[in-house]
Subunit: 201 residues, 4 copies
DNA sequence: GATGAATGAGCGTTCATTCAT
DNA sequence: TATGAATGAACGCTCATTCAT
């Protein structure tokens, strides 16, 4: 009687996954545009799904946020890994880093800006993204330290200095540039050259 | 309304100022503890005043927030100026900077963390605090650049690197240390020595 | 969101319209009973819906008020038009006018009584209702003026005199009759005969 | 020890009456300007007395409103009586009536407009004002009825027709004239001549 | 599974009224 | 008596979440 539907089970499953994907992608876009405190109803409307659908897929808004963050972590992590793996110098690596950040700037900005108001899981995303770069960074920087072209300082400090500088510009983008312009595009080279100047012996 | 009663006119004024102060100080503490989006009712309860009292002193919550911020700006600005004016080396100056940040760490953390969700006036506070240090920083750093002990880089880049590094540790305090411990206390020296190592020729 | 479910899509729409209708009708009744400044919570309670439901259907209380007014305008306008169109004498027309006013007396009383504290749209409702009657009035009265049975005075003045008289009794119903009794029922004939006496040559 | 103050008792009493008067007069002015639902704090500020003073003189705002109304009733009643007593024709009487209404138009407008949202006592004021005119009206109109120059209709109906017409224009002043212009000044003559035309045989 | 109407706790804000001075 | 700071109940409105269909 039941158990048998017009659509095959897998078709339904695909539909379900599609809806889920649509919600996550829309939430990603809206979060990037307006920050994480957008009402769930707005996301539903923009995604073209019912308000209730969000809660059918994600028990709470928190869960949606976490999924979006984790998705973002995977995406940017992969991208970073891709671009970083063939970099043989700090300069190249950081150039690629900036390139990726520019690609994802809007959402990345929200992440570092609102991270402390986000669910705890946001930290994992944040940490994962950073450690992807950190991994590649440590490889190239240690080689350069050994070569004697870079100051002998703890790798993590060198890395945190870089991240601090970049994040500082991102977080204060309203101060550094017009609100719609990419800070990375505008200041990336300056940040990079300053940083390289600092770490070189 | 006459403005002159037998006595006690000023007593009431003092009481009013006391209440205002109590609200501001409570708000300051709660903001530091839980961030700027605490409900007004929580502040009222903690301050031991009625909910309505908040609005008798501050027309909107925004006004309260701005007052707290501006108060904070004055306090920390004065303190920074005090400690900074006699510093004759970058090292001393930054030590004092860290000292002050440690004193005000909890609130300063919320300020840099939630700045972008705060009323526009928050930016003035933020900018004022930074420029106080920037002023003293540029004096000592330029002298050292001239002396040839510090790399010849634009002052603002040197400063932003420092701030970026410090803010990075503050913003990610949950990552770097147990939530109740001061990141500055724990990592201050490391930050300072790394930074000094970086800027020196 | 697809817009076509197996069935019951329209069932929900009907239910929604029912709730909306329930809110409007309750608001209509309560406004008639207690005036337009009843709290939204009272309307919700009386309508048997949650407080929030009101705002799910009407973004602001103002919108609800306007909807109720516009609904009322349609209802009474249609009714007036219906009854008036076959009237061939001033006497008949005004009799029908009074009849309709008696039907809607409680709400009509609030409308003319609180009109100046209502949203601007209330004026349109008010004006629309009056002009429906005015239209029919001018037809019959001008014919009678031509026939020489009614004094030759500007139509609008004749009409305003009638409205003024009727509204005066409505607005001062507490003075003219016990609060629950219809003033129109009690004084309608007297108003009508007086008015007819006045306008006739 | 006590019982003896620097100021004589009567001085104090006079001051008290002055304050009371100042409150009533200010409330009168503000009510006329903005309607009866102005916050008590606004009246206090405008009157130059403390907020509490209002409640020292009037237990509730209701009581103040009633006092203002009663004061107004006395003032306008006296004025009406003054001007009316020497009128020997309906025309003259109604002219004087209009003159007085124009003098007090702003407040009178609020009274008839918001009467039903006012404390019950407002009715007495309203009734008293009307009956003052009614008294003089009945004298002159009855004489004219006897003379056969005015239609033989119940005096109260003739009077209510007049009041209805005038109030209709007042209540709908927004429709008839620019908001700051006196409707009485603009339409008074038309109202009067229409009315006289109607009542004459 | 998807829907979207309904829910209700919670928010910032207003203001008549109280009361210590 | 006059003061004005403090009060707190009430208001319109928001939004994550529920649940009958």
């Amino acid at each position: 009687m039941s158990g048998e539907s017009i659509m095959g089970e897998s078709t339904r499953q695909i539909q379900k996954l599609n809806t889920r994907k649509k919600i996550i992608e829309t939430a990603y876009r809206i979060f990037a545009e307006k920050g994480f405190s957008v009402p769930s109803s707005v996301i539903a409307k923009e995604a073209g799904v019912s308000h209730g659908s969000i809660f059918a897929h994600f028990p709470t808004m928190n869960d949606l946020t976490v999924s979006v963050l984790s998705d973002f972590g995977d995406k940017i992590g992969t991208r970073l890994h891709e671009l970083a793996k063939n970099c043989d110098s700090t300069e190249n690596l950081l150039k690629e880093h900036l390139k990726v950040l520019e690609e994802y700037e809007a959402f990345y900005f929200r992440l570092i800006t609102e991270k402390n108001m986000l669910p705890e899981e946001a930290r994992y995303t944040f940490a994962a993204v950073q450690s992807t770069v950190a991994f590649h960074f440590s490889i190239v920087i240690e080689r350069e330290i050994e070569k004697g072209t870079v100051k002998k300082l703890p790798t993590h400090m060198l890395y945190n200095t870089w991240l601090g500088l970049v994040h500082y510009y991102l977080m204060n983008k309203d101060f550094f540039s017009d609100s719609n312009e990419s800070v990375i595009k505008r200041y990336g080279e300056e940040l990079l050259s300053t940083y390289l100047e600092l770490i070189k012996i």
